[in-house]
């Protein structure tokens, strides 16, 4: 039996402001409980919210980056429910008229040349405040409430139910994760909860109406997202196959068991009684403000990918890899700026080859690379101008990684790695090699091509790899009359 999986994602991205969305408290992570919860955040009687301008700027940036409509007038609403981490008894959010409407994200699913492109439509993105935290370690059978996080600005980004597999969901989440960091509105730190996803999952037979969905809450890693969705899909299929209808529910993923389970606290019938917050007036965003924000926005990944393909002849895949994160793209752009556009392809190869391998081995981000973009570019320039061969370049790379010198030039100089290109010197060397390896010469003349390679190897070995391999090859062939 064929099943179609339908997934929509709701992501809460914590916005990179200094203060909270409606108060002047700090949003820095990791403070002592409740020391960053002021009168507004703990909802003392009589306090009032005032909107943080920077949070709106973040929403505008996001709207521009996903090609959405920025609402000229949007409204804050109260979402009413009781929970101890929600001090006012309502969350200030946006309901009927969100600040960002529509738009979408292009994602690549799969790897390499087999990857496919897909466009995920966004329904909306709206500004809201975060809740505090309930700590469940035992306080004599009670829970402890920390309101430092209450009032932290969030952008909730909601997709259409466009994704058809856990792989697509993860690809979207990764692309979104990269984008929000790219435009500088979210630090993307998933451990600290700065980027949290809820997945709405349902299954249906192709062509049938949408099935009943269950919402998996608080997925804070891509791996868990994949596991949780896969488990949930299988569970739903089993339920339906065994004749049990799916009931709408909110579930949590337990990484220890790899299973999803219903949340008890959300079982109560809820009715959020949304209504426009009378303490906040309509948010107006004029075209001039949007233009001002747009002028400060960095080049977006999609535009950059197209440019890399056109200017440097990169493949779509390479361009996508190099724009997978702002740090990666920054590194590439900086390296090309030094190495020159003609070396764009070589720079890409080195970043995705040698550098990526070393970074992966050390589980490091490109931003933390011990070899700077300028250093890598210097190395590539020396390859391009034949100062060193590719093989020697790997040695220089290693030396740069280990901090043995400040630049490729310094290492080449210090370690005497400069390629020998003097024809006279190479000719003398070739003569020496031919004289010392008569056996190989015989074998070559007898038709063994392998013997030629051995002769090249001998010549390179004699110069510790510094001879220009092309020149050695050419001279050998000439001397052997081949």
């Amino acid at each position: 039996m064929n099943w179609e999986v339908v997934i929509g994602l709701e992501t809460h991205a914590q916005l990179q402001t200094k203060s909270k969305i409606f108060s002047g408290s700090s949003i820095a992570f990791g403070a002592e409980p409740n020391v960053q919860a002021n009168a507004v955040d703990i909802a003392l009687p009589g306090v009032l919210p005032v909107l943080n301008r920077e949070a709106v700027v973040c929403a505008i940036k996001f709207g521009l980056a996903v090609g959405a409509t920025i609402a000229p007038r949007s409204v804050f609403a109260r979402k009413n429910y009781f929970y101890p981490d929600l001090p006012k008894g309502y969350q200030i959010s946006q309901f009927e008229i969100p600040v960002v409407q529509g738009g979408g994200l292009s994602i690549r699913v799969g790897a390499g040349d087999t990857a496919t492109e897909k466009f995920v439509h966004l329904t909306r993105a709206h500004l809201e405040e975060d809740a505090g935290k309930s700590l469940h370690e035992d306080f004599h059978g009670k829970s402890g409430i920390d309101l430092n996080r209450a009032g932290t600005p969030l952008l909730e980004i909601v997709t259409e139910p466009d994704m058809r597999s856990s792989a697509e969901a993860v690809a979207y989440a990764r692309a979104l994760h990269a984008l929000v960091q790219w435009i500088g509105i979210c630090d993307g730190n998933m451990q600290e909860g700065s980027f949290r996803c809820d997945a709405n999952v349902s299954v249906r037979r192709p062509g049938e109406p949408l099935g009943t969905r269950r919402e998996i809450k608080n997925l804070n890693s891509f791996r868990f997202m994949q596991q949780a969705i896969d488990f949930e899909v299988q569970w739903q299929i089993n339920e339906i196959t065994e004749g049990r209808a799916i009931r709408q529910a909110t579930v949590l993923f337990d990484p220890d068991t790899g299973e999803t389970r219903s949340m008890r606290s959300k079982e109560d019938a809820h009715d959020y009684r949304y209504f426009p917050d009378p303490d906040l007036l309509p948010l107006e965003i004029g075209a001039d403000w949007i233009a001002e924000v747009e002028s400060g926005l960095p080049e977006l990944p999609q535009a950059m990918q197209a440019r890399f393909q056109a200017e440097y002849g990169l493949s779509a895949y390479d361009a996508a890899i190099l724009t997978a994160s702002r740090a990666m793209a920054d590194y590439y752009v900086a390296a090309v700026a030094v190495a020159g556009g003609a070396n764009g392809k070589a720079v890409a190869n080195w970043i995705m080859g040698e550098l990526a391998a070393r970074l992966n081995k050390g589980d490091m981000d490109v931003a933390a690379s011990p070899i700077s973009a300028a250093q890598l570019a210097g190395l590539i320039q020396r390859i391009a101008d034949n100062t060193i061969s590719n093989n020697i370049a790997k040695k220089v790379f290693e030396a740069l990684w280990n901090g043995e010198g400040k630049s490729a030039d310094e290492i080449i100089e210090k370690q005497g790695l400069k390629q020998i290109t003097d024809t006279g010197a190479i000719e003398a060397l070739v003569d020496e090699v031919l004289a010392a390896n008569q056996k190989s010469v015989e074998e070559f003349r007898a038709g063994k091509e392998k013997a030629f390679n051995a002769l090249v190897g001998q010549a390179m070995k004699a110069t510790k790899g510094k001879a220009n391999p092309q020149q050695v090859t050419d001279l050998l062939r000439k001397k052997l009359g081949a």
Partner: protein, 493 residues
């Protein structure tokens, strides 16, 4: 000293400036009166003599050196217990906040303190400002100083009774549907609700956020103008506070009324107003004509819908505003409970009184799924119709006048059994809150004149948006020609 309890704020200021009396002497005078008379009135629900006298000493110091002293420095006043007042218990008339010592000051409290005014104490009120008779206070009803068997009005009933009994020269109040004007009328005082947004709501415990507005209550329009000038002004902490240049609300007081056009809504003069109230209001209008004003009939065709629209909007906002009282961070928590929801439900059931619970339940219902459009959205549309009526009326008049309340103060218990009857006490005042307009009440005579204790009647003056100065001018010129505002209840001096 007895002339000091009847003195205007201007006279008190002059006496202080001339060193005829010190702020400490003045505060002591009123504190002693409070000690003597409050047990019979129940107007004050929090007193702190040491704190009051410390403020008075500071005021005397400032008067002595002259630095930073204002026309109000050293003059005592009392705050409705809806205003958060640092270090004072701020209960909002509720058991829920019986032990809540506010860790901060409301903007209004800050501003009046900055002007050098001395806080005498906190005033009783209907619980969370929900009531028109002061019978819903957890701390017991306030008695009307004119007749202790009658209500003082509400919700700022403590403020009204305190001033009427000369326990304080002035007080703060708040007005969501008439809570300044109606008790001012019922106690024979002058009280003013400013244009929505003129006075910051920061630190004023919210009842219905889109309607709540703080204002002054005092004996005269002149006093109210002085107080309003000190209370009003832009505050960055309230998003609905309006960014306008500071105003001197006394500026037009002495201008004559020649040519002022008074609109009389025909809907305010139909059936429903008691005959004694009508007689006093008509007499006041005759006085206005004598003073050079003209009257013109206007129509507010949707004003009949203001009470039902209000009883959708106000409870809806209140149900949400009062959700923060959950027994977690402050306020009442039930002594015994089971799980979390039980803690919430018992704490709120025991912490709130009947009227507050009723309004929370109504508000929850009208916002709930499937009913929002029929009730809340509908009421908001009607609110616009009501506001548009006023806009139309102000095309042909400068101020609008009518009764503040349909009757004089009623007896305790007279309307407690039927909430709707109680709600109709605010029938003439509610529409201005819905429209965001300024309104005031000035004493204009007495009703129930056949009784041993005739009761005050209030004339309501409604201004156009930001028309406070004009309203105050109309009130002050009337008060120069009449002496209703100087009358004092008998047996209290």
């Amino acid at each position: 000293m007895s002339d000091l309890i009847n003195a205007s704020l201007k006279e008190l200021g002059a006496a202080l400036a001339a060193k005829k009396v010190s702020a400490v002497e003045l505060a002591t005078l009123f504190l002693d009166r409070i000690d003597a008379l409050n047990p019979g009135l129940n107007a004050f629900i929090a007193l702190d003599r040491d704190r009051t006298l410390a403020q008075a000493r500071a005021a005397d110091e400032s008067l002595k050196v002259g630095a930073g002293a204002t026309a109000l420095t050293g003059i005592p006043l009392a705050h409705k217990d809806i205003f958060c007042t640092k270090g004072w218990r701020t209960s909002c008339g509720s058991r829920m906040l019986e032990n809540f010592i506010s860790p901060y000051d409301a903007h209004v409290v800050e501003k009046l303190a900055a002007a050098g005014m001395v806080t005498l104490g906190k005033l009783n009120m209907d619980e969370f400002a929900m009531g028109s008779s002061n019978e819903t206070s957890y701390f017991g009803p306030v008695k009307n100083p004119w007749d202790s068997s009658r209500v003082p009005g509400g919700s700022s009933g403590g403020s009204a009774a305190a001033i009427a009994a000369r326990l304080a020269p002035a007080a703060t109040g708040t007005d969501t549907g008439g809570s300044i004007r109606q008790p001012a009328a019922l106690c024979g005082l002058t009280g003013l609700k400013p244009t929505y947004g003129a006075v910051s709501r920061y630190g004023m415990i919210a009842f219905a956020s889109s309607l709540d507005q703080a204002g002054p209550m005092a004996k005269s329009a002149e006093d109210c103008a002085l107080l309003l000038t000190a209370m009003a002004g832009f505050d960055t902490r309230d998003s609905t506070s309006l960014e306008r240049p500071a105003e001197d609300y006394s500026r037009d007081l002495e201008k004559p009324l020649n040519g002022m056009r008074i609109g009389l809504p025909k809907e305010f003069f139909g059936e429903g107003m008691d005959a004694d109230v009508r007689a006093a209001v008509e007499a006041a209008l005759a006085e206005y004509r004598k003073l050079g004003a003209t009257t013109v009939e206007v129509s507010l065709p949707n004003s009949g819908l203001s009470v039902p629209a209000y009883y959708v909007i106000a409870p809806a906002e209140a149900s949400s505003n009062l959700s923060r009282f959950d027994g977690v961070r402050y306020g009442y928590r039930a002594p015994e409970y089971g799980d979390l929801n039980d803690m919430y439900s018992k704490s709120r059931a025991q912490g709130f009184g009947a009227e507050v619970k009723r309004r929370i339940l109504i508000g929850t219902y009208v916002l709930s799924h499937g009913y929002y459009d029929a009730y809340y959205l509908k009421a908001q549309k009607i609110r616009r119709l009501i506001a548009a009526d006023f806009q139309e009326a102000f095309k042909v008049c400068d101020v609008i006048m009518g009764p503040t309340s349909p009757s004089v103060a009623f007896a305790f218990g007279a309307k407690s059994a039927d909430p709707v009857q109680m709600y109709l006490s605010d029938i003439y005042t509610i529409s201005t809150n819905l429209a965001g307009l300024p309104g005031m009440s000035v004493p204009c005579g007495f009703g129930a004149t056949h009784l041993a204790n005739p009761m005050p009647v209030g004339l309501q003056i409604i201004g156009s948006w930001f028309g406070e100065a004009k309203m105050l001018q109309a009130a002050h010129q009337y008060q120069k020609a009449t002496d209703w505002h100087t009358r004092m209840p008998g047996g209290l001096s």
